[in-house]
Symmetry: C2
Subunit: 377 residues, 2 copies
């Protein structure tokens, strides 16, 4: 059997709790298969790494991540390492993304089960059938451009950041969006988001997206939306943006968080951040490096109580199997098990609900049931 | 009686249609009062000005705006003057904002009538009682920082924009937010929005907001939110942000549009863009210049049909009377007339609905009824 090294970064707050359940799930699919073996090893990262070593991304953690086949992360941060501290957990995350070249952030926002429709803040008739995948450029733009802080010469009363994009950066993220659109049957529509009526970087973005899709993927449909208008449509008529939402780093940060509340709980949603694929148009979408994490934060208010929803992390583990290890079958099995656990009894499921969905089932209770379903399938 | 000069910029698409009704309403309150007289004059602006003179903001229009006591605008833009054109209507708007120094954009988002709750895309129990006023910095940040287009030396493959803020720019917009918070009884809570965990300009923003409010307005409550988190809360639990949302130009563009769909129709919402007030802390909030416009666009698809909703423009006219002319009484009368026209019959109103709210009442029909209510009051 093929053997894969997976680095696990539990992180802070509820991170270790939700990661523990995803690790159990990965161990089960690994045991059940004769085609592959996973070897999992944990490393310090984020606030807990700051406490232990003074740095959010210790050299040993970075080295393990660089050598791994894939990385599974929990969540980082907390009031202990606040926005004013010199060393902050987020710096570790930004450094890890940049060092590994994880330029493609992929965040699906859709209902894992129709039984969850009642948890959406949108009216059911508006939330029904929402199915978007946000593809966010993750290591460019205003996150990594040159900047100047206040109280730094020459003008101590001014601070600035640079929103910068190159043709190559936009090309490669466009190709990722295109590959994801093509993986569906029929292919998904691509909605590119920018602020081309104001920003030079957005005008470059729009031009390169248009040229890349027109030349390299003539079979795909796409359109452009201004970011302010997209922020309206995601609330008023989100199905209009079904398909792939392709956007730059800062707009992607805002819009992916915004769209993630439609399915009713942040606790349900996974994400992937990928490197190296596809630098040229290619139907074989295989990243050279991948970091997988739930989209929720470290939720310090409920940490340690064993009540966090582990499903976002478990679905991140499924994405890890699919994208980084090329293991579609166990990925699909996990997704179906999750759906079964969430579906109401009338729909043939177990209807389990953690506290974020108004229920009483514990973190471990969700893990137990998913493991049980996987064993019996 | 005091006499005021109001410049009217009908603009493009549905702009002239909705402005015509607001002008009628202003004429009625002017006729009815013995304290003041309004003299209204129209000027070309936007796409129609490009067609007539080659420029979106002709010198004669700018001059009239500079000499006016206040400006009432409709909407600008349309497919005829697209994103790729050299001369675009938006350039006129950005130039007008910058030249007049309109740094404070004020956009309330609340239900004009509880009878409209059913039109919100959010569940009624989530939309009920939403009452936010977005205060957006309008002539700084990435909109007006240095930028470089693609295909310009030295690096033709790169484009960039600069997100830049000075201490003074943040101070003055913070004071506007504070004055608005203080005008309510009890004072409103201020929610300042930034991305201080990544951006230098946001760290300056957060520091200056904190210092200004702590020192100059110790009686006000405030907190800070990251923009990605705010974008979630506006959908999932918007009442949590009730009060004043204080933010920089780009975040304000996105968040104000996002929050504006909560009340059910963009057609209902007004805005004000103010200059000169208050550069120092002062309870007398009197701008030196003010531009008032509905938040909706020029809606070319329905232009010329007489079916657009004029209420956003009529409520903008009310804000004009209140802020620029200091005429609270007729401002309030207009707002009450609008509410009466929107309220369902059970609530003592007329329940009139334009097409954007699924009704059949025409633009002029709304204007007629508001004029009638004002005459009889
Ligand atoms: C923690 C923060 C720096 C990060 C970001 O803004 O990218 C987070 O919000 C995210 O979306 O992963
Ligand atoms: C037309 C455009 C330049 C403008 C902006 O982005 O400021 C508009 O979206 C607005 O909010 O008034």
């Amino acid at each position: 059997p093929k053997s894969f090294r997976v680095v696990v970064l539990p992180g802070d707050g509820i991170g270790p709790e939700v990661v523990a359940e995803a690790v159990r799930v990965l161990e089960v699919v690994s045991e059940k298969s004769s085609n592959f073996k996973l070897s999992l090893e944990s490393h310090l990262f984020g606030g807990s790494a700051i406490d232990a070593s003074g740095e959010p991304l210790p050299a040993s953690t970075l080295k393990a991540c660089q050598e791994a086949d894939a990385i599974l992360m929990g969540s980082i941060g907390g009031p202990k390492w606040g926005v004013n501290a010199k060393v902050r957990p987020e710096q570790g995350l930004l450094a890890l993304r940049k060092t590994l070249g994880l330029y493609a952030n992929i965040r699906p926002a859709s209902l894992a089960s129709e039984s969850l429709l009642d948890y959406s803040p949108l009216r059911p008739e508006i939330a029904l059938g929402v199915d978007m995948i946000v593809v966010r450029e993750l290591i460019g733009g205003v996150y990594f451009g040159a900047r100047k802080e206040q109280n730094v010469e020459p003008d101590v009363n001014v601070a600035w950041d640079t929103m910068i994009y190159s043709v190559e950066e936009v090309q490669r993220i466009t190709r990722v969006a295109a590959q994801i659109a093509l993986a569906a049957n029929p292919p998904l529509v691509i909605h590119s988001i920018d602020k081309a009526n104001v920003l030079a970087s957005s005008r470059l973005w729009r031009k390169v997206v248009t040229e890349t899709l027109t030349k390299e993927y003539p079979q795909l449909k796409f359109d452009h939306h201004l970011v302010d208008s997209a922020a309206m449509v995601i609330v008023s008529n989100p199905r209009k943006l079904n398909g792939v939402i392709l956007t730059e780093n800062l707009f992607g940060d805002i819009l992916s968080d915004q769209s993630s509340v439609i399915p009713g709980s942040l606790g349900l949603l996974p994400s992937a951040s990928l490197a190296g694929a596809p630098s040229v148009p290619s139907p074989n979408f295989k990243p050279t490096s991948g970091l997988y994490e739930p989209i929720h934060g470290s939720a310090p208010d409920i940490a340690g109580q064993g009540i966090a929803n582990p499903i976002g992390t478990i679905l991140s583990a499924a994405m890890l199997l699919r994208y980084s290890l090329g293991l579609e079958e166990p990925a699909r099995a996990i997704e179906l098990a999750v759906q079964r656990v969430l579906d109401n009894p009338e729909a043939g499921g177990y209807g389990l609900r953690t506290a974020d969905l108004g229920g009483k089932v514990k973190t471990k209770g969700i893990g137990d049931k998913i493991v049980e379903v996987l064993h019996s399938s």
